[in-house]
């Protein structure tokens, strides 16, 4: 049993918009005399688009029409029809995620790009996706170590820490190559981002919009920006601006980081400064920032890993590393897929005890009730390694009790467990419902509070479901 999925990744970043197509191979890795175990065995990039500047209508709005044209053109160039796409993700990143129409654009675009192409947004997700696109997770797994990837884009720097292949922490900083823009020919500054403006003001530097800048004038600013990055990975503690430059959170440095990789547009300069002789090549401070990082402790004090992708890390991550597949013994009683943007109701360890489960679910379901009407929700918990049949029945009864409001609203029951127990649990729930209501029960998927899950159409003779676990965070 071997199957291929065609996946699309689209990245709407602060400065650039890109697209890739990749092929994911799904295979049964179990022998024929055990239960099947479907695994994504191969991820192969098939097509990479040109890199476009993200089209904007003005400072606060994305030009959806132009974005759509880019996507259409690239689909055509790749010779791919929309209905050939099996899965994929559109991610809106950096400053672009803060635009007024970000939410509409991303949802419209995901629908436009394919049936099961999901909308994603949020700095933490972006960090993970770019880190995986850069191949840092794989490196940390193969070499059994802890590594950080910094994806330095136009507006933000996304950090992801991987320990032996597992994502352990993420962070995001407002450090990027296009936070100061200038005229390529004259060096006249045309834009300074608000947070950078504050640093300039408190330092009293002679840098403002209209100033003719050169490398020497900008150097102190670039040093501050680089120091913030150094501090973020634990190489220093004394930068006064670090806290202010954090987008949502920094990384917690709970374990020692031994390796570092760079991705994002600025990474090209970090790895190959000799290729960029014109300091204002892109009409911004990206080249100079890259050079400064190259000379900093980031490059000297940590072991530097060559990343698999630089400027394309995020889009490759979106296209190749967002789709997971469920466990291979699952329950779904009717084909109602794809189901998109399903919010997650996560139960804690204590709440996952069948005795406490019913009340906990009811209480949390209130969060998903807007003006009296309840939203479709996926209930997620860890589950058990080796439950007895009686125990499974207890779980099923508790879930039905807690999810009663969903039943009353006529919604199917969707349950996601981590441990391998979804087939029997789903069947037990379905049995208790006298086979009258729809039940979807998946395992092998880890979900956290605040996340969303999208579930695609069954593959591999209906044995598994592709899923995308994601966030949808738009605010700045």
């Amino acid at each position: 049993m071997k199957e291929e999925l065609l996946s699309v990744g689209i990245d709407l970043g602060t400065s650039t918009t890109q697209l890739i197509f990749s092929r994911l191979t799904v295979e049964n890795m179990a022998t024929s005399y055990t239960v099947p175990r479907m695994v994504i065995t191969r991820k192969e990039i098939q097509y990479k688009s040109d890199i476009y500047f993200t089209p904007l209508l003005d400072q606060t709005r994305i030009d959806f029409g132009k974005v759509r044209e880019i996507i259409e053109r690239e689909y055509e160039k790749a010779g791919i029809q929309k209905d050939e796409i099996d899965t994929g993700a559109v991610i809106i990143t950096g400053e672009t995620a803060g635009k007024e129409n970000a939410r509409e654009v991303i949802h419209a675009l995901s629908g436009f790009a394919g049936d099961f192409v999901v909308a994603t947004a949020g700095p933490d997700l972006e960090s993970v996706i770019s880190g995986k696109g850069a191949g840092t997770d794989l490196y940390s797994k193969e070499h059994h170590l802890t590594a950080v990837n910094i994806d330095i884009g136009g507006g933000t720097s996304n950090l992801a820490v991987f320990c032996r292949g597992d994502t352990v922490d993420t962070g995001c900083l407002d450090i990027g190559g296009r936070l100061v823009k200038l005229d390529r020919e004259t060096g006249r500054i045309t834009y300074i981002a608000p947070k950078i403006q504050k640093i300039i003001e408190s330092e009293g530097w002679e840098i403002s919009v209209g100033t003719i800048a050169d490398e020497a004038l900008l150097k102190p600013l670039l040093v501050q920006m680089t120091e913030v990055l150094e501090q973020s990975v634990g190489l220093r503690r004394d930068n006064p601006y670090y806290e202010k430059m954090i987008t949502n959170q920094g990384i917690h440095l709970s374990q020692e980081i031994s390796c570092i990789s760079f991705s994002g547009g600025v990474a090209d300069v970090v790895y190959h400064p000799e290729k960029f002789t014109d300091p204002f090549l892109f009409g911004d401070i990206g080249v100079l920032l890259g050079r400064t990082i190259r000379e900093s402790a980031l490059f000297r004090n940590l072991q530097v890993i060559e990343s698999a992708e630089t400027i394309r890390a995020t889009v490759v991550g979106a296209g190749s590393h967002t789709t997971e597949i469920s466990g291979s013994t699952i329950t779904y009683t009717k084909e109602v897929f794809p189901i998109k943007n399903l919010p997650v109701l996560k139960l804690s360890e204590e709440e996952s005890e069948p005795a406490a489960m019913g009340d906990a679910i009811r209480k949390k379901l209130e969060w998903f009730t807007v003006e009296g009407s309840i939203q479709q929700t996926a209930v997620a918990f860890t589950g058990e390694d080796n439950p007895s049949f009686l125990r499974v029945q207890e779980y099923a009864e508790a879930l039905l009790d807690g999810m009663e409001p969903l039943l009353r609203a006529g919604l199917p029951l969707i349950v996601v467990v981590e441990n391998d127990m979804a087939k029997v649990l789903g069947q037990t729930m379905y049995h208790l419902l006298e086979w009258k209501r729809e039940v979807i029960c998946l395992d092998g998927i880890h979900l956290a509070e605040g996340e969303y899950i999208d579930i695609g159409k069954p593959i591999a003779e209906g044995c598994v479901l592709p899923v995308v676990v994601k966030t949808l965070v738009f605010s700045k």
Binding site: Y33, T34, V35, R164, T331, D385, M421, V424, Y430, H431
Partner: protein, 301 residues
């Protein structure tokens, strides 16, 4: 053949298998105190009447016996992926005492699983109907596989009465080579199968328990009952990883002379492999598919 001879033969077979046991999936990893060190700390005087710690309770995947490892976490991470006895350290050119004791303990458990019987209380508790193959004792069972596939006439009569004529699906249990596997798994697996079949309006007649059973015994049951599908749960040859692994052999219209390739197998049913409840739910679905396609084994693909 004398008892010792049989025992030494079984021992030999088990030894050969040690290298080929299949690996169940890893669960989690954390450092566990080494058994030897634990024993040292908690010496119990012989006359106290207390038991020594059961060394087979230690999860080997989380036990690292290497002294001063350069990267203990990395090592444990690798160990989590295999039940093989990696990272056991050494004392001179030999195993350490903890490793030696554990190998012998696991070996003993494997032998016990073969030589012990499924208890009568257990069979009664589960409500199974007891039948026996032509074998008159364990020794004959081990030395004469052919007899473990056939029943005497009176037992066939019991089978006929219990299962009725032309049942759609039968679930039967055979001790096979591990009685421990049966006692550890069937209580959770059979209700899961029953529930899964109920979804398709299929009900099961009472479950047979077959003593001294080889897998081929299901063919004899098929012959006499004319069942459409038989699912036989049978104890697997034990190995050093676990003595509690069970298989489900499922076949469409099993009859004498059925080719082995026509049986569908779910193996590795134990707490570290496929869990009994999930295996049951999966087996029910396979059974329904077999009834639909009128085929099993390689014909089902």
């Amino acid at each position: 053949m004398r008892d010792e001879e049989i025992r030494s033969m079984v021992e030999k077979i088990l030894d050969q298998m040690l290298n080929t046991s299949t690996a169940p999936e890893p669960k989690r990893s954390e450092v566990i105190q080494t058994t030897a060190e634990a024993l040292k700390k908690k010496e119990i005087p012989a006359e106290s009447g207390e038991c020594l710690e059961d060394i087979t309770k230690t999860d080997l995947r989380r036990q690292l016996l290497v002294k001063n490892p350069a990267d203990a976490d990395g090592y444990l991470d690798m160990k989590a992926k295999t039940p093989a006895r990696l990272g056991i350290g050494k004392a001179g050119a030999r195993y350490r005492t903890a490793t030696m004791l554990r190998v012998r303990a696991d070996h003993a458990a494997a032998q016990d699983a073969v030589f012990s019987d499924v208890s009568e209380d257990f069979i009664k508790k589960c409500g199974f109907v007891f039948v026996k193959t032509l074998c008159k004792d364990k020794d004959e069972y081990l030395t004469r596989p052919d007899l473990g596939r056939r029943f005497p006439a009176d037992e066939l009569e019991v089978i006929r009465k219990t299962c009725g004529s032309h049942p759609k699906v039968l679930v039967i249990v055979g001790d096979g080579l591990s009685s421990s596997a049966i006692e550890a798994n069937v209580e959770d697996m059979i209700p899961a199968i029953r529930q899964g079949l109920q979804m398709h309006q299929i009900t099961l007649p009472p479950v047979l328990f077959i003593k001294y059973a080889r897998v081929g015994a299901m063919d004899a049951v098929g012959e006499v009952t004319d069942a459409d599908v038989i699912c036989m749960l049978v104890g697997e040859r034990p190995g050093l990883v676990t003595a509690e692994s069970m298989s489900a052999y499922i076949a469409y219209k099993p009859r004498h002379g059925l080719a082995e390739a026509k049986r569908t197998v779910i193996s590795n049913i134990h707490k570290g492999g496929t869990t009994a409840v999930e295996a049951g739910a999966h087996a029910a679905e396979l059974i329904v598919k077999m009834l639909e396609k009128k085929a099993s084994g390689i014909d089902l693909k």
